[in-house]
Each structure stands twice: as structure tokens, then as C-alpha cells.
């Protein structure tokens, strides 16, 4: 039997506010335990939450970016459960009326574009962290520690429809979402620090069946690699279970990166009754039209819009357009380079960025903002290719020198004497010398061997120490051989 995997993702995206969603404490990562937990965060008796407008503004930005419906009135609810890293005994979240509903995100899977529907995105506070290692009582008994620095950090939980059909699609969606939230500046996207965490709901069904199978939810995947591995493992496991005659039970599972397997965390029977109800300490959030329009006006051009413009207006391929919009920093860099050329040539800029620059960045493990060569400097180099000063080969040499910090393109050309020779008189002198010394090749060319011509070009280039303009060499050499 052929099986189909069905995947929906829930992404917890940490919002980039300076302070927490309901208190004035800092959200900075990595501080000493509990040093960033104020009296509201530790839930002293009598304290009250006050909503951080910046978190709401970021959710609006996201809603606008995915063309979603923004609920003009949205409500915070309490999700009640006991856990030591949840100081109030409830998490403030949005249940019945989330701020964002029904949007969509276009993703690129191979050559195909696909639309993933986004069910909802709601604001909520993060819990603290329980630390189960390295703590011992005086009697040596193991203890658990609680760090409430993260408690109250604003999250946007983004829930997709079960629209993905493979781990690859799920990763493409997660990556596109990651690009988007960092692009619009609502999340720093740091997956190691937990700023972008993914839960995957996975089920399988016989291909062609309309109803969904029973899903299991894989919690807290913090890399795209683990997301792919976990889904692939889980789907295989579910298929095997069904083929062995078992039924899938709804459950929450964890992925173990060491074994590459998922394991059960809790079954549906253990599921909490969270006793949601509207938080009486917070008024319903009202979004007025002026504010929404103000946020809309402040939105940058989005990846999808850029992709289309790069293809339609700049003539780039879908592949290049997609690659150049992988991050806002990269797209900005590309546009700065292309915009820095006196003679517009987006393709040239794209080739160099996707080629030499990307390769060098990869080699050094750097991201575009850390590039040793600024966009303006790269444009300076490309201008020398455009005006014939540099051949492609020379340009690569100059690029390497620029990366090494030897100066801008013109300075390096000057210092190394790399200027391409385009003086036809000088080239003709070289050609004459080469022809005189290579009777055999001339003979062979005359008897119809085109290869001999290339050998002669090579000789001329060699004689010029690579500096002669190759196109000119070609032209003059042909003229000379033809004229004789």
C-alpha cells in the first residue's frame, strides 16, 4: 500500500521585544538564573500583568505579512496547570479569540511553489526553565532548580493547517516561516537559544484516503535537521505500526537526536483539562485601524514580493530569486550591489553573490552581515568587470585580495598591476611574437584545426601574464591569421 504523510506545524516564535510580555523585566538571553525575573514574573501575591504593546505590534506585523485576518478584538485567556516553572499556576495565552487568524505562506519545494495555510497565530507568555542536573541538597539528594528568566518572554505561536505532505515540505515551510519572522524583525530566529521552536503534528493515511489518520505531536524541535529526521522517523514508525495491525493512539512524543527516534511523552488520556477562561486581569485587546495601517506602512517589502520582482523586473531565474531572498540581509546586500552598478546588471550581481561570495562565506562559516566585502566594495569590483578593466579570472584574484583586506578593487588592481590590457597596439605586438614562435600551430589552424587557434590564444594570454583582454585577443588574432 502507498502511504501519505500529513504534517501540520506549530511554531513558537519568540518576539524581539526588549521586555517581557506582561512585565518590565528584560528578555535578554543568558543572564544569571532568576536575575531577570521581577515580582510579576515570579507571581508574588497581588501582582498584575500589563500587556507589552510591542508584542502586539509584532503580531500585527506578522498577520499583515501573511495576509491574515487580524481580530480587531482579541482576548487573553488563562491556561491553568501546575508546574514549578509556571509561577502563577496558569499561562496567559490566547485561546478563543487569537490576534491572527487564517493567513497563508507560499513555500518553494524544488521547482514547485506550494501554499501552506496558517490557521492562527496567538500571543502568549513563555514558561521558565526547570533544571534537573547539577543540583544537590546537603544530603546529596538530587534537586531541581528553577530559572524564571524566560518566564513571561513573549511568544507568537503560529499554527499551520495540516497542509504538508513530506518532511521536505515541512522543512521548507519552517524555513520560509523562519525567514519571514526574521525578515519582518519580530524574532531573532536563534534556534539554539530557543527563539524559534517547532512542534510537528504527524499522521499517515493510505494515499487517496480523504480522512486524516490519528496524529502524534512531536514536541520542541530546535533545528531544521531534527525536524526532518523526526518527521521521517515518525512517519515510518506509524506506517509500520499500522501495517503490523496496530492502531495509532493520539499522543505527544519527544525526538531524541542521539537515537534518531521519537518516544512517547504522554498519551491523550493524560492530557490536562486546562480550564481556559478569559483572564480578568487583562482587558480585551482592541486593534484600531490607524494602528494597523501604521504598522502596514512600516513593513518592508516581503520575500514573496521580492522574489516576484527579481524575476519579473530584474530577469533573474526563479532559483536565483528564491536564493537571494533566503534572508533580508542577503536580499538587502544583493540590492545594494545591483544598485551600486552604473550600468544595471542584476544577473552579474546575482552570479557573484551566489557564486564566489556565498562560497567564501560558507567556507568561513559566516553569514552575509559578517562579509569582509561590503556591498559597495563588491559593486566596485563588478564595475571593473563591466568596463573591461578586469577579466573574469582577474576579478576572482581581486576578489580574494579584497576578502583578505588588501583594499578596494581599484587599489588592488593598481597595486598588483592587474589591469587588463585593451590597447590593441600592445596586444598586436604580443600576437606577432607568438605567431612568429609557433609556426606549427599556425599551420595546423590553416589546415582546419580550430583547437590550434585556442592554443594560440592561450599563448598570447600567457605572454600578457593574463592581463590581455581575451575578447580582443580573439578578435585580433583571427584578423591576423585571416589577413595573412
Amino acid at each position: 500500500m502507498k502511504w501519505e504523510t500529513v504534517i501540520g506545524l506549530e511554531v513558537h516564535s519568540q518576539l524581539s521585544t526588549q521586555t517581557k510580555i506582561f512585565s518590565g523585566a528584560s528578555t535578554a538571553f543568558g543572564a544569571a538564573p532568576n536575575s531577570q525575573a521581577c515580582q510579576v514574573d515570579i507571581a508574588l501575591p497581588g501582582v498584575l500583568p500589563v500587556l507589552n504593546k510591542g508584542a502586539v505590534e509584532r503580531a500585527i506585523r506578522f498577520g499583515l505579512a501573511i495576509g491574515a485576518k487580524l481580530n480587531r478584538t482579541n482576548v487573553f485567556d488563562r491556561k491553568n496547570y501546575f508546574y514549578p516553572d509556571l509561577p502563577k499556576g496558569y499561562q496567559i495565552s490566547q485561546f478563543t479569540l487569537p490576534i491572527v487568524e487564517t493567513g497563508e505562506l507560499k513555500i518553494q519545494v524544488g521547482d514547485e511553489e506550494k501554499t501552506v495555510r496558517i490557521t492562527r497565530a496567538h500571543l502568549e507568555e513563555d514558561a521558565g526553565k526547570s533544571l534537573h542536573e547539577d543540583f544537590h541538597g546537603e544530603d546529596g539528594r538530587p534537586l531541581s532548580g528553577i530559572d524564571l528568566n524566560r518566564a513571561g518572554t513573549p511568544l507568537l505561536e503560529i499554527v499551520s493547517e495540516p497542509d504538508m505532505r513530506s518532511a521536505k515540505e515541512a522543512v521548507a515551510y519552517a524555513k520560509a516561516l523562519h525567514t519571514l519572522v526574521t525578515w519582518i524583525g519580530i524574532c531573532d530566529g536563534n534556534m539554539q537559544e530557543g527563539s524559534f521552536r517547532v512542534d510537528a503534528n504527524v499522521s499517515v493515511r493510505p494515499l487517496g484516503q480523504a480522512e486524516y489518520g490519528t496524529r502524534r505531536e512531536i514536541k520542541n524541535l530546535n533545528s531544521f535537521k531534527f525536524l526532518e529526521q523526526a518527521i521521517n522517523y515518525e512517519a515510518r514508525w506509524q506506517i509500520e505500526q499500522i501495517e503490523d495491525g496496530h492502531k495509532i493512539q493520539q499522543a505527544t512524543v519527544l525526538f531524541d537526536p542521539d537515537s534518531g527516534e521519537t518516544r512517547m511523552m504522554r498519551s491523550k488520556e493524560d492530557a490536562h483539562d486546562y480550564r481556559y477562561f478569559p483572564d480578568p486581569d487583562l482587558l480585551p485587546v482592541k486593534l484600531d485601524e490607524d494602528w494597523i495601517e501604521q504598522v502596514r506602512a512600516g513593513l518592508p517589502e516581503l520575500p514573496q514580493q521580492k522574489r516576484l520582482r527579481y524575476q519579473n523586473d530584474l530577469g533573474l531565474s526563479a532559483y536565483d530569486a528564491n536564493a537571494l531572498t533566503a534572508s533580508r540581509a542577503l536580499a538587502d546586500y544583493f540590492e545594494a550591489v545591483a544598485g551600486g552598478l552604473a550600468k544595471p546588471d542584476a544577473k552579474l550581481a546575482a552570479n557573484w553573490i551566489m557564486g564566489d561570495l556565498s562560497a567564501t562565506l560558507n567556507r568561513e562559516g559566516l553569514d552575509i552581515p559578517a562579509s569582509h566585502i561590503s556591498a559597495a566594495a563588491l559593486a566596485g569590483l563588478l564595475a571593473r568587470i563591466q568596463d573591461g578593466t578586469l577579466s573574469g579570472k582577474l576579478a576572482k584574484q581581486v576578489f580574494e585580495a579584497m576578502w583578505a583586506g588588501e583594499g578596494d578593487a581599484d587599489a588592488i588592481i593598481e597595486a598588483k598591476g592587474l589591469k587588463q590590457v585593451s590597447d590593441s597596439g600592445a596586444i598586436e605586438v604580443l600576437i606577432d611574437e607568438v605567431l612568429a614562435a609557433n609556426d606549427k600551430s599556425v599551420e595546423e589552424f590553416r589546415s582546419g584545426k580550430e583547437k590550434a587557434f585556442n592554443a594560440l590564444v592561450g599563448q598570447v594570454m600567457k605572454a600578457s601574464k593574463g592581463k590581455a583582454n581575451p575578447a580582443q585577443v580573439n578578435e585580433l588574432l583571427r584578423k591576423k591569421l585571416g589577413a595573412e
Partner: protein
């Protein structure tokens, strides 16, 4: 009257008494009378006198406000920095607050020394002050009787002259009902007028702090101090500060007093009915005009309240888990055991009952039938008041169905106890201001309370009626003999 805060502030202003002297007097009465009344959980003479001395210094330097140096007692529901803040519970029996509630900040800024923290029903859940972990408070008019609740300690302290004034909180009648049962004046403001920051939450959408004092005029002066916008409470209302005493001397001619049919039905009998009727007659003599109004849904208010308040409480009290502060069971096997034992041992039975009711009405499958239904009732009840206030300026009725009852009389029957608040609860559900003031005594010499209910933000109008009534009646000047 010589012990209103109005009078005390005059004494201080004229240099006839110092704050230290006033505080010493009250501390002396507390020392003498509190063992019989149990009105205070915490008294700290040194702290009080330090604050009093600072108030005297402030006055000497010409920086005094109108109430600087006048002492006040605070219900133990308000977090006060450096003070044990128990909320009447074993759960917080070791909790010394590291911060001040907004209300405490306001009184500190006014220069009013704290006389101590008053006893209360545990987490403000009760109508007799018998649920306190610190033992019941006794009514100064008859120490075999309850002072009402939950602000029973504050009420008894003011009635017994252990303090000239006190703060209270009112979720379903917790200021007004004890004020009625102890013969003092107490006011619950419009929801949102006083910040809830630092006031330990019982039912967030209903809780509101207010003053308890001898007179309506004192309540107005205290409300001037307590009220005001606070950005730390999202339900605090951003309104210009107002002087609640501004209309006290307005004549009552033409004032329309709404008399809800439902408050004068079969439940109202005997001395209470007579006293309320006499109050209406007196107000008529002062120029007020009685109007019949109807609050048809008010009979459902107790039922709606005992769904909504426990629902919110069950969640609000989740933070008391023994993990970060407060009581923790000495012996536990694991996390679940820690939670269960801490909460089983730390909470009293009334609190547990309400947590269970609250968890039940919010649980899956029951939410719509209870919580949502109760919210709908709440809107209907509020709508009734909107209609009624189209026909009148102030609504009048009894505060409580009976005068002070005996200790233990209603503890066996929670529903009977809940009905003590039958006339007050609708006001909280609607978020309106309400107050209770003395309007006579029953055959046993126990005070009877008259309730006034104002329209939203019409505290000044309500206080005007109360003050004019007090000038003409004098019931509020009577004191118990202790």
C-alpha cells in the same frame, strides 16, 4: 464626634495633637481591646510610631497634606513592604511582602501611618470573618457575634475605636456587609477607581478596595487618597483625579432615590425593614424623592456570583503552591505530593470549597453551562441597573438581610452564609459603587446598615446623600461600650 479622621486632621493641623500621640492612643486601645476582638493579625508599634514621627516631621516642615499624621489600619490583603501579609491564611503565614500595594503607596504618600494589619476571612472568602486562619473576629457590639466579612477585622477595629479608619476590599459585599453589622460607614467604589495592584486577588473582575470609617465624609476623604490611575493595573481607569468630598453639602432637594421592588420583598422583615423605611422617610424630609425601580435579575446574582467568583479564585490561588514563597508542607515525596500536601494543609475548608467549585465550573464540558451562563446573567444584572438609573440618582435598600449573627450560627450551612450578601453582590457584578451606613439598631441593640448604590463614577453623589443623611440622623455617632 471626636474620632473622625476629619476631626483628627484638624487637631493635627492646629497643633493640638501630634501623630505620635494619636498613634500611641490607638496602639494603647489595640493592646487593651484586641485580645477580645481579634481585629488585628499584625501590630508593630515601632513601625507605626516611626511612620508617625516621620509624619510629624513632615508637618513641621510645612509639607503636610490634609491627612498627614492620621493613622489608618490596613486589611491584611494589601501587600505592605516589610509587613507580614497573610491574607488571613496559613498559606501566607510566613510571607513578609517585599513591596507595597498601590493603595499602601497612596496612604504612605499622604503621610498616614499604618496602625497594623487587620484580620479577615481567609483570602477574603467569607461573610462572618470565621474562616480566618488567625481565628474569628468578634463584633464590638456583642462579642458573641460576628462582625461580618470578609473585612471583619477592619470593621471591628473602626467600630471598636481601635482605629479611626481602615481599608477594606469588597468582592461581593466584603466592605458593606461588615460595615452594616458593626455600625460603621464603608464604601466600595466603581470597579477600576482604585488600583488592585498589590491587593491579593480573590476574584479579579469583582475585587475593589475601599475605605471603612465612621462617616461618609471620612470615606470621601479616604477615597481621595486611595483612588487614581495606576498603569500597573490594566483594569484601573484612566480618569482625572476627582474630589469625592466636593458635593457633600449639596441639598438633597430633587434627589431621586430608587427603591428596588426586589429589595423590599418577603426577605426583608422586622427591625431591618423598619429602620430602612425610617431612613427613606428622613431622606424624604430632606427633599429626596423616592421612585420605585426594578432589578428583575438581581435574584440571580448570588447564583451567578458563586460561579464567577470561585472560577476566578480557583485560578488566582494557583500561585500558592509552596514552590517560591509561603507555606510549604514539611514532608513530601515528589512534586505532586508537594503540591497536594501544601495546598491541603495551607488552605482552610472554605477556600478549598471555592477552589473546587471554581475548577468544576471551568472544566471541560461544564464551562458553557456554568461559566458562560453566569457571564450572561452578569450582563443582564448590570443592564437592570442601567435601566434603573434612567429613573433615579441613587438606589437605596438594606445592606444585609439580618443584623450580626452569633459565631458558629451559619458555619454549618455555606449557602445560608452566602445569602448574607444577597443585597450587595449584584453591585459587584455590575461594577457599580455602593456603600453602607448605619440607619438604626434592632431590638438587641445591634446596628442596622443602609445601602446606597450609585451610578458608575457617581461616588460623589452617593456620598452627598449619605453625608446629608448622617447630618440629620446621627446613628453613625453611636459607639459600642467596650
Amino acid at each position: 464626634m471626636t474620632d473622625t479622621i476629619k476631626h483628627l486632621s484638624t487637631l493635627l493641623a492646629e497643633g493640638k495633637a501630634s501623630s505620635v500621640e494619636l498613634c500611641q492612643d490607638y496602639l494603647g486601645r489595640i493592646e487593651r481591646l484586641n485580645p477580645a476582638l481579634n481585629a488585628f493579625i499584625t501590630v508593630d508599634a515601632e513601625k507605626t510610631l516611626t511612620e508617625a514621627a516621620a509624619a510629624d516631621t513632615r508637618r513641621a516642615s510645612g509639607q503636610a497634606g490634609p491627612l498627614t499624621g492620621v493613622p489608618i489600619a490596613h486589611k491584611d490583603i494589601f501587600c505592605a513592604e516589610g509587613w507580614l501579609t497573610t491574607c488571613g491564611s496559613k498559606m501566607l503565614s510566613n510571607f513578609v511582602s517585599p513591596y507595597d500595594a498601590h493603595v499602601i503607596e497612596q496612604f504612605k504618600a499622604a503621610g498616614m501611618p499604618c496602625l497594623g494589619k487587620t484580620n479577615m476571612d481567609e483570602f477574603a472568602m467569607g461573610s462572618s470573618n470565621e474562616t480566618s486562619y488567625y481565628g474569628p473576629v468578634r463584633n464590638p457590639w456583642d462579642t458573641d457575634r460576628v462582625p461580618g466579612g470578609s473585612s471583619g477585622g477592619s470593621a471591628a477595629a473602626v467600630a471598636g475605636r481601635l482605629a479611626p479608619a481602615a481599608t477594606g476590599t469588597d468582592t461581593g459585599g466584603s466592605i458593606r456587609q461588615p460595615a452594616a453589622l458593626t455600625g460603621i460607614t464603608g464604601l466600595k467604589p466603581t470597579y477600576g477607581v482604585v488600583s488592585r495592584y498589590g491587593m491579593i486577588a480573590f476574584a479579579s473582575s469583582l475585587d475593589q478596595a475601599g475605605p471603612m470609617a465612621r462617616t461618609a465624609e471620612d470615606c470621601a476623604l479616604l477615597l481621595n487618597v486611595m483612588s487614581g490611575f495606576d498603569a500597573r493595573d490594566s483594569t484601573s481607569l484612566e480618569r482625572a483625579k476627582e474630589d469625592y468630598a466636593r458635593d457633600l453639602m449639596q441639598p438633597l432637594a430633587g434627589l431621586k432615590i430608587g427603591l428596588p421592588l426586589e429589595f423590599f420583598g418577603e426577605g426583608l422583615t422586622g427591625d431591618t425593614a423598619r429602620a430602612v423605611e425610617e431612613a427613606i422617610a428622613l431622606l424624604k424630609k430632606l427633599g429626596a424623592q423616592p421612585v420605585a425601580v426594578s432589578l428583575p435579575n438581581s435574584k440571580l446574582s448570588v447564583a451567578a456570583y458563586y460561579v464567577l467568583a470561585p472560577a476566578e479564585a480557583s485560578s488566582n490561588l494557583s500561585r500558592f503552591d509552596g514552590v517560591r514563597y509561603g507555606y510549604r508542607t514539611p514532608d513530601y515525596r515528589d512534586l505532586t505530593d508537594l503540591y497536594e500536601k501544601t495546598r491541603a494543609e495551607g488552605f482552610g475548608s472554605e477556600v478549598k470549597r471555592r477552589i473546587m467549585i471554581g475548577a468544576y465550573v471551568l472544566s471541560h464540558g461544564y464551562y458553557d453551562a456554568y461559566y458562560l451562563q453566569a457571564q450572561k446573567l452578569r450582563r443582564l444584572i448590570a443592564q437592570d441597573f442601567v435601566e434603573a438609573f434612567r429613573q433615579c440618582d441613587v438606589i437605596l435598600g438594606p445592606t444585609a438581610p439580618t443584623t450580626a449573627f452569633k459565631l458558629g450560627e451559619k458555619t454549618a450551612d455555606p449557602v445560608e452564609m452566602y445569602l448574607s450578601d444577597i443585597y450587595t453582590i449584584a453591585v459587584n457584578l455590575a461594577g457599580l459603587p455602593g456603600m453602607s451606613l448605619p440607619c438604626g439598631f434592632d431590638a438587641q441593640g445591634l446596628p442596622i446598615g443602609l445601602q446606597l448604590i450609585g451610578d458608575y463614577f457617581a461616588e460623589a453623589r452617593m456620598l452627598n446623600a449619605a453625608h446629608q443623611y448622617q447630618l440629620a440622623s446621627g446613628w453613625h455617632t453611636r459607639a459600642p461600650t467596650l
